[in-house]
Symmetry: C2
């Protein structure tokens, strides 16, 4: 496994691999890798000749009062996990390599970015779309893998690739959870032992809502009320949002008919966590 930090090194290696007839599978990450990322890498490993993982805490997707500086980093641990899961190349650039002195261009989106996390994190998805566009142009993968834990991000990336005719396929992979249900997240490391226990309200609420819908409930208000009530039992939890949206537009709906995403963002102490369930068309 190679670890490189410059765009040129990635381009040259990928060019060589493509010349040999390999397809390229790509997993973009912000590092501090866990079993969720590992499942994306495994999916990439299974279906591509070569696997590239990027590790880059992208400054432009963080708002001014968010956790850019404190976001956890551990390249040594990440490299070990990548090695164990058969990654061929880690791309680990500096912010300077990615954005230089003057950076003016951005990729953004209407509609899908205006709900859910886009409301409380107004610059977030513009930063995500821009960095992912850059990474796709640098790595030129055939396939790229994203977790369904960031369900809105996945929907936005799929839409961006479709709208801009980017020449690759996007694959969503299921949420990976701890044994007790908490969705795996690099941000779980922020939680104190007490908060770690409190954080279980997210998955409990998700499982409850999913059960209601699977058993036939079609009224979004009722599902959301039950999910909200579950979260509000926990004094350390503060809801940012609990919503049910159309899976293709991310717009709120009243009645469940086609594909839906039921998503939440909840503060546990100072840590903002997300979780969701999806019912596809």
């Amino acid at each position: 496994m190679k670890i490189v930090s410059t765009i040129n090194e990635v381009r040259e290696q990928v060019k060589e691999w493509k010349k040999e007839g390999n397809t390229i599978g790509f997993v973009p990450t912000m590092g501090y890798l866990h079993e969720g990322h590992a499942s994306l890498i495994d999916a990439a490993r299974k279906n591509n000749g070569k696997v590239v993982v990027s590790i880059f805490v992208n400054p432009i997707q963080f708002g001014p009062n968010e956790d850019l500086d404190s976001y956890p980093r551990d390249l040594e641990h990440d490299a070990k996990l990548c090695e164990e899961h058969g990654v061929d190349l880690i791309f680990h650039p500096t912010p300077e390599e990615m954005y230089g002195d003057n950076f003016y261009t951005f990729v953004d989106m209407d509609v899908l970015t205006k709900e859910l996390c886009g409301l409380s994190r107004p610059v977030h998805f513009r930063g995500v779309c821009t960095v992912v566009s850059k990474l796709f142009n640098i790595v030129t993968p055939d396939n790229a893998y994203f977790g369904q834990k960031d369900a809105q991000q996945l929907a936005i990336i799929k839409r961006m690739v479709k709208d801009l005719n980017m020449p690759l396929s996007i694959h969503g992979c299921p949420i990976i959870r701890e044994e007790d249900g908490l969705a795996k997240s690099s941000r779980n490391t922020y939680l104190s032992p007490e908060e770690r226990k409190a954080a279980l309200v997210l998955s409990r609420s998700v499982f409850l809502g999913e059960k209601m819908v699977k058993e036939g409930e079609r009224d979004c208000k009722k599902v959301i009320a039950a999910m909200t009530e579950e979260i509000e039992k926990e004094p350390l939890a503060k809801i940012d949002y609990v919503k049910i949206v159309d899976l293709s537009t991310m717009q709120q709906i009243d009645t469940i008919e086609h594909g839906i995403l039921a998503a939440m963002a909840v503060y546990i102490g100072k840590t903002r966590l997300i979780d969701n369930f999806m019912i596809e068309d």
Copy 2:
């Protein structure tokens, strides 16, 4: 020469050509081709295995009161010119093929888009960046060719490619003029015989300014005043702007030191024409 209208047909043809070891040269146009476009095609022909020309009047780069509907179109004439200049493939999609029913994504830029034509045409460059991104992803060229007549567009495209790490090279080609000096433009067809004569104030003003700078004038105000005075001699001309900007940022400057662009947009009757001269670093 092939003429195709679907994205899939372009992708399949280009894939085949690349497999045979060809480089792809690309000239994106809005059609109604003239000798200016032909010079871009010739440049592409000289340096690439295969040459692709797109002909697409891009609706999203026109403002609500601009000339989208009246923009001149003549595919038969365009195909003849392309054939004569050795084009291998014309991509001539419908707006539906390019934008479908729901289109949410856009590529935009700060700073460079805020001056000159960006002031009077606020959605223009967002539409240009978005369609050019799409076309690059569809055609996947090694080289793309743009005219220096649209100098701000050229600077913006170069910057977009750099910022987003798009894997191709951008080439700017000199302005092609009529014998009497008028810069070639598809919009010249809008001019009445009287307006056609009046339109010569643009090139006269450009030649005057260029001469002043080449002879040593460094005060932008003096150059602009002389250029403006020349245009104001013509009663049919109404100035949108005459400005001198830094070539890399498109920001107005007072003193000529590094690379500059002196650019103008002038209405001749109802027709908005542009012209410029550039002094590179």
